[in-house]
């Protein structure tokens, strides 16, 4: 069923990957040629600059740092080069060394006002990242319109990621994620719903390498409340295992397996057992661009009944986003554009020989513009095509457009 979308996705990624890989090979060859000249003329500033720039293009900040260390040895009072060296170490995550050079550059008294502001920002960020407790997140408030159905309402969404460094030699962290969302449509709609979850557990570096695979066993608690007219509310718990591994500078793979139970809080349904498996890969041709291909399969089965309701779901999603600077004066200087395509099949067996299959295809695009450093406006549009087979030869098709507008705070 997913063959065609998957082939299209594979072709798209391959198409996008080819020029990036070819360009990478060119840069590597250029850098090697510059390096050979540098070996015989190690103090040549032009060669050093070319070598450092090509290294940064290859995301080899270590080589850039080494070159800047050599330059500073030749020009020890060059404060601008010291700032660059600090940023190279910052990029490598060596925040203590970055702070040493930033402080030295600041103390030199030789920086321009722009550089002073730049150094202050990096020092603040280096101090934050050196903390043993670090959190980040977002909060969004918006409004959504479903055109065909005429349903609309306000929504609230947020997430917090909190990491506590446990202090060992391999940076085991205790990671807690909290996420919630709520949609409150106008009177007459039965689509109101709120959901939330808390996931917590230690994250280990499996191979004990800084950039090797990471594994997080976790427990998760959640809730789902919906319009009381038709639906049952649930509280949930789950245990799971999340895995992420950056294979190289462009590709990261990840997986997440969870099993758990939903407890009916009210309504006519019983409790459900569920399991879910997510598998994905991200591809980053540059630091500003990310593609993500993910697949999810899951099943939930009603407990303690002779005719259990059983729902299976399988979906595949390709999303992409690109951050850019529009370079217009009087406009925010950081924008992000994104889009996705998703295909999903949900099959529900109602336990007495009746089965419904929903085949849903959706696409969407969105644009996020930062009006302040941490505050953004986002507009999105989505199109959903849904085919439902109720069995017994009965089918339905639907075509919906959903528009969203929201303001968000990233912290």
């Amino acid at each position: 069923m997913f063959r065609s979308p998957l082939l299209a996705v594979a072709a798209a990624v391959a198409l996008l990957a080819t020029p990036a890989l070819a360009q990478s090979g060119d840069v590597a060859a250029q850098r090697q040629a510059v390096f050979q000249q540098l070996l015989s003329d190690p103090a040549n500033r032009q060669l050093m600059r070319d070598y450092a720039r090509l290294s940064v293009q290859m995301r080899d900040f270590e080589a850039a740092a080494a070159t800047l260390e050599r330059l500073l040895d030749l020009e020890p009072d060059n404060s601008s080069a010291r700032v660059e060296l600090a940023i190279a170490y910052f990029s490598l995550g060596s925040y203590a060394v970055a702070e040493y050079h930033l402080a030295a550059a600041q103390a030199s008294g030789a920086l321009s006002p722009d550089q002073v502001a730049q150094v202050a920002r990096y020092r603040e960020e280096a101090a934050d990242r050196g903390d043993s407790s670090d959190y980040s997140g977002r909060l969004e408030v918006g409004y959504a319109w479903a055109e065909t159905a005429g349903d609309s309402g306000a929504f609230l969404s947020g997430a917090i990621d909190w990491r506590i460094d446990l202090g060992d030699a391999h940076v085991t962290q205790w990671v807690t994620e909290v996420a919630f969302s709520s949609y409150d449509p106008s009177d007459g709609s039965f689509n109101s719903r709120s959901s939330g979850r808390v996931r917590t557990g230690p994250e280990f570096r499996v191979s004990r390498d800084a950039y090797g695979p990471r594994l997080q066993p976790y427990v998760e608690f959640g809730f789902l409340t919906r319009d009381p007219i038709f639906f049952t509310d649930f509280n949930t718990w789950a245990v799971g295992l999340a895995y992420a591994n950056p294979v190289n500078e462009r590709v990261t793979v990840y997986a997440d397996l969870s099993v758990g139970r939903e407890y009916a809080v009210n309504g006519s349904f019983g409790d459900f057992d569920f399991h879910e498996f997510d598998l994905g890969v991200t591809y980053r041709p540059s630091r500003d661009t990310r593609f993500r291909l993910s697949g999810t399969v899951g099943e939930r089965t009603e407990r303690d009944t002779s005719f259990p309701i059983d729902t299976t779901e399988a979906s595949v999603r390709l999303s992409a986003q690109h951050a850019f600077d529009p370079a217009f004066q009087n406009l925010p200087n950081r924008w992000v554009v994104g889009g996705y395509a998703q295909a999903a099949v949900v099959t529900t067996d109602f336990g007495f020989g009746s089965e419904t299959e929903i085949d849903r295809r959706s696409v969407g695009i969105w644009l996020r513009a930062f009006v302040l450093e941490d505050i953004y406006l986002e507009a999105g549009t989505n199109r959903i095509l849904e085919e439902t087979d109720f069995g017994f030869g009965s089918t339905a098709s639907r075509d919906e457009a959903i528009y969203t507008l929201q303001v968000g705070w990233e912290f």
């Binding site: 190690p42 103090a43 500033r45 600059r49 450092a52 940064v56 080899d60 850039a64 080494a66 260390e69 330059l71 020890p76 009072d77 601008s80 170490y89 490598l92 995550g93 060596s94 060394v97 040493y100 103390a107 030199s108 008294g109 030789a110 722009d114 730049q118 969004e140 959504a144 479903a146 065909t148 349903d151 997430a159 990621d161 202090g167 030699a169 391999h170 994620e177 996420a179 689509n191 570096r205 390498d209 800084a210 950039y211 999340a242 500078e249 990261t252 990840y254 991200t282 980053r284 009746s354 989505n382 959903i384 849904e386 109720f390 017994f392 030869g393 009965s394 339905a396 098709s397 959903i402």
Partner: protein, 274 residues
């Protein structure tokens, strides 16, 4: 016969001449790196030769002993792009350097006294480069590190990369993948104290000088704002902190599409529509 004898004689002379050219070349060791900066000079002692002064651009060879004076320091750039910075009163021996055209090989050196900064190149990305002190062996993989050997004790600080390990002479091995992590012969010692780090960097590089603004190198790392992304490995890998994030999706708004019961085009079979 006569022709054959003359030919053989000519061949012998030619062979002798070629050997005369080739033998010194064979005896001359190949440069494995170059002196990239000195203040004021370093001294080097190649194997089987006398001491020499190393100045900017001088090639260094395998098994060469390199020493800095009490007021000297310097940097050596190796053929695999490794950069070694030496503090004053430091002596090293470049005792293993194999760098094949395909990028494979190995690198090892001895630090008999003093302090150095090792910023890895190609060789230390495939496998550990080693720095051997009289009391420990330090393995550096995909990484940069500071190494100091004073008062009979080895101390190493992990700066960046994949992993740093220290094996003491008693065989005890400790590793860290934490940037700023400190290893000694007694194992992992926690994160480097900023004051100690400052002293070590001043020892290796000299005290930072103020006053001269100077032009940057234009290295391309001068972004005005810190990236909101995580650190990058020495080969460009980075973790995606958002990889498990809940993107806000339509499922957060609607479990099912909003239904007005009139908008769908429904096809019913012989049975009634459900």
């Amino acid at each position: 016969m006569m022709f054959a004898k003359k030919t053989m004689t000519a061949a012998a002379i030619l062979t002798g001449a070629l050997l005369a050219i080739a033998l010194p070349a064979q005896g001359q060791a190949q440069n494995i790196g170059t002196v990239a900066s000195t203040e004021p000079t370093l001294s080097g002692t190649p194997p089987g030769a006398g001491a020499r002064t190393l100045v900017l651009g001088t090639g260094v060879v395998q098994d060469e002993t390199i020493a800095s004076s009490a007021s000297g320091r310097g940097q050596i750039l190796f053929a695999d792009q490794t950069t070694l910075s030496m503090a004053p009163n430091t002596t090293i021996v470049l005792d293993r350097f194999v760098f094949n055209p395909d990028g494979s090989g190995q690198m090892g050196l001895q630090l008999t006294t003093g302090a150095l900064r090792f910023i890895g190149g190609t060789l230390s990305r495939g496998q550990e480069a080693t720095v051997t002190t009289p009391t420990a062996t330090i393995g550096i993989r995909g990484s940069s590190a500071l190494v100091i050997y004073v008062n009979g004790e080895a101390i190493t600080v992990f700066l960046a990369g994949e992993r740093l390990c220290l094996t003491s002479s008693s065989g005890q091995r400790a590793c860290t993948s934490r940037q700023g992590g400190v290893l000694t012969e007694n194992g992992y010692q926690g994160v480097v104290n900023p004051d100690f780090l400052q002293q070590l960097l001043i020892l290796i590089d000299g005290a930072p000088r103020g006053g001269g603004g100077g032009n940057g190198l234009g290295s391309g790392v001068g972004n005005p704002n810190p990236s909101d992304r995580g650190p990058v490995s020495t080969t460009g890998e980075e973790f995606d902190p958002e990889i498990f994030d809940d993107d806000f999706t339509l499922d957060d708004l609607f479990e099912f599409l909003p239904d007005d019961f009139f908008s769908s085009e429904e096809t019913c079979g012989s049975n009634s529509c459900l």
